[in-house]
């Protein structure tokens, strides 16, 4: 059934710290690495070593420049994958029932043997979280590494999504966002976690932590700040006009 569950027992999801992400794309690589050889169809590439390479990814890292009113611009690296929305528009549009949201943990999944590859779910997703695999003709999306997080064959430390496990900056956190006492929920509360495109009404489970204010070393000191540039007068240029031959040349050329 592609109707959404009234409520889910848990809300498993990611918290992504835009302050900490260094834009290394390690999460992109580990995601592709894990998911191309585990749950469902592989994530194919087309013309991977040629002139026009493309491929299926479940996680991509954008970079944005933010220019404040005053001060230097900031570069924000912005990983984006499925947000496992509570009100997931991708699920209800599915004509075959291939897309569904799990009642037990809220993960949005695609049953690939039911998917006809119509692409409508990707149309309905405002975040670009779903990509049709060009080789398999079925819709691929983040599974929250459902085949890792419940996998008792893996050491406990590995029972988190591949992107979270691999992030060298600690910018990705995994947990139950439905439980207000969970570490991720507390992190969100503490740092003012936010929804992407809240006006779309999708109620995303994944949360983004905004970048913290940067220090202001880039600001030049105001002239009245004599404490700072006490030696500045001594560093002023001594000669404001050239002397000697150059001075003569300068004057002569001015006259011409």
């Amino acid at each position: 059934m592609t109707t959404l569950p009234e409520k889910t027992d848990r809300k498993l999801g990611l918290v992504i710290d835009l302050d900490t992400c260094v834009g290394c794309h390690a999460c992109v690589v580990s995601c592709k690495g894990w998911n191309t050889e585990n749950y469902g169809a592989p994530l194919s590439d087309q013309d991977p070593y040629g002139a026009d390479p493309t491929g299926t990814f479940l996680n991509r890292v954008h970079s944005y420049e933010v220019q404040p009113e005053e001060g230097a611009a900031q570069l924000i690296h912005f990983p984006k994958s499925c947000l496992h929305c509570e009100d997931a528009p991708c699920v209800t549009v599915c004509p075959t029932g291939a897309s569904y949201k799990r009642t037990e943990d809220g993960i949005v999944l695609v049953n690939e043997t039911d998917c006809i590859g119509c692409g409508l779910c990707a149309w309905a997703c405002p975040y670009g979280a779903r990509e049709m695999d060009a080789a398999e003709g079925v819709m691929k999306k983040c599974t929250l590494c459902v085949d890792r997080i419940y996998n008792d064959n893996l050491p406990e430390v590995d029972q988190v999504p591949a992107c979270v496990r691999t992030c060298p900056a600690g910018a990705r956190h995994f947990g139950d966002l439905g439980d207000p006492d969970s570490e991720v929920s507390q992190l969100v509360a503490e740092r003012g976690g936010m929804d992407l495109m809240p006006e779309q009404g999708t109620k995303p489970v994944n949360q983004y932590l905004p970048p913290r204010p940067k220090d202001e070393l880039d600001r030049t000191a105001a002239p009245e700040d004599s404490e700072i540039d006490v030696l500045a007068p001594y560093l002023n240029p001594v000669a404001d006009s050239p002397k000697g031959f150059l001075g003569w040349l300068d004057k002569t050329l001015e006259k011409l």
């Binding site: 026009d52 944005y64 933010v66």
Partner: protein
């Protein structure tokens, strides 16, 4: 949005086909025997041809039967169900006209209603998309339904109705375009809400996630054709509405009627191409595009 030929052909032809079935169901023109057969053959060729074209863009058309299951939630599934229901009911009604010379009026009315319902479900697939503000308006079903009824009137030779409907459809078309041009800006979704980074300052897409293209850019960010949008709108207005109107307003002649149909079909195909090519999906914002 990528203007996929299969979807343009599908919505244009099947809209026209179900439009003709609507008129036939109401008993216009009142035909029986071989004449009825010809009318029904044209309507089915258009409606079924369009539906078949739509399966070409599926990754797995062999599983299409599963698309009949989710009518409770999915407009695409509803479209599959209503289109088959309309074709079956109109098939029985048509058989009565062709083979028995009998008009089973009730069946015809039900078939006509189902034909319109099919066009409505098609339009709702687009009109439900909050991600494409240009489409998300009740005007989209109004446009699709008006065009289907208008095309059906031209094909069924209901000249007076066709003339009135062509004027009406042209007005709806222009209003739809007008509204659409401000839809993305008016939707409240922009790069600041998409990234949540609007508070610290002005956001600009600095670097995309990859140097090449991807499925999202191919499917949702179509910029090339928009350059000629105004010219194409004019072509759509002239071929789709003005020229058929002029041809039908002249004393009736089968050649003129055929030309009116072909001109209308071409114009509506151009309009439908724009329907996709001009539509901005909000995911483009993440790439600094629209």
């Amino acid at each position: 949005m990528h203007p996929a030929p299969s979807v343009i052909i599908f919505t244009t032809l099947s809209g026209l086909g179900f439009g003709l079935l609507f008129w036939l169901g109401l008993g216009f023109p009142a035909v029986t025997g071989w004449t009825a057969f010809a009318f029904f053959a044209i309507a089915y060729a258009l409606a079924v041809g369009g539906l078949l074209a739509s399966t070409f863009h599926l990754g797995h058309p062999e599983r299409a039967i599963k698309a009949f299951t989710q009518w409770r939630s999915s407009w695409l599934s509803r479209e599959a169900c209503t289109s088959v229901a309309a074709l079956v009911v109109m098939g029985l009604y048509g058989a009565g006209l062709v083979f028995f010379g009998e008009r089973w009026a009730l069946l015809g009315w039900i078939g006509a209603a189902l034909s319109l319902l099919t066009v409505y479900t098609t339009s709702m697939i687009y009109a439900q998309m909050k991600t494409v503000p240009r489409w998300q308006t009740p005007l989209t079903p109004v446009l699709f339904l008006t065009l289907a009824i208008t095309g059906g009137a031209i094909l069924s030779g209901e000249v007076t109705a066709a003339l009135v409907l062509l004027l009406l459809a042209a007005v709806v078309q222009v209003i739809w375009w007008q509204r659409g041009d401000g839809a993305l800006a008016g939707s409240g979704t922009n790069l600041a809400t998409a990234t949540g980074l609007g508070k610290p300052g002005q956001v600009r897409a600095f670097e995309p996630p990859h140097t090449g293209t991807n499925y999202l850019l191919r499917e949702f960010v179509h910029v090339v054709g928009r350059k000629h949008a105004m010219k194409l709108r004019l072509i759509a207005l002239v071929l789709g509405y003005a020229l058929p109107f002029a041809l039908l307003a002249l004393p009736f002649n089968h050649v003129f009627a055929l030309l009116a149909v072909l001109s209308h079909l071409t114009g509506i195909a151009a309009s439908r191409w724009l329907f996709f090519a001009e539509a901005e999906h909000v995911v483009g914002l993440y790439y600094g595009k629209r």
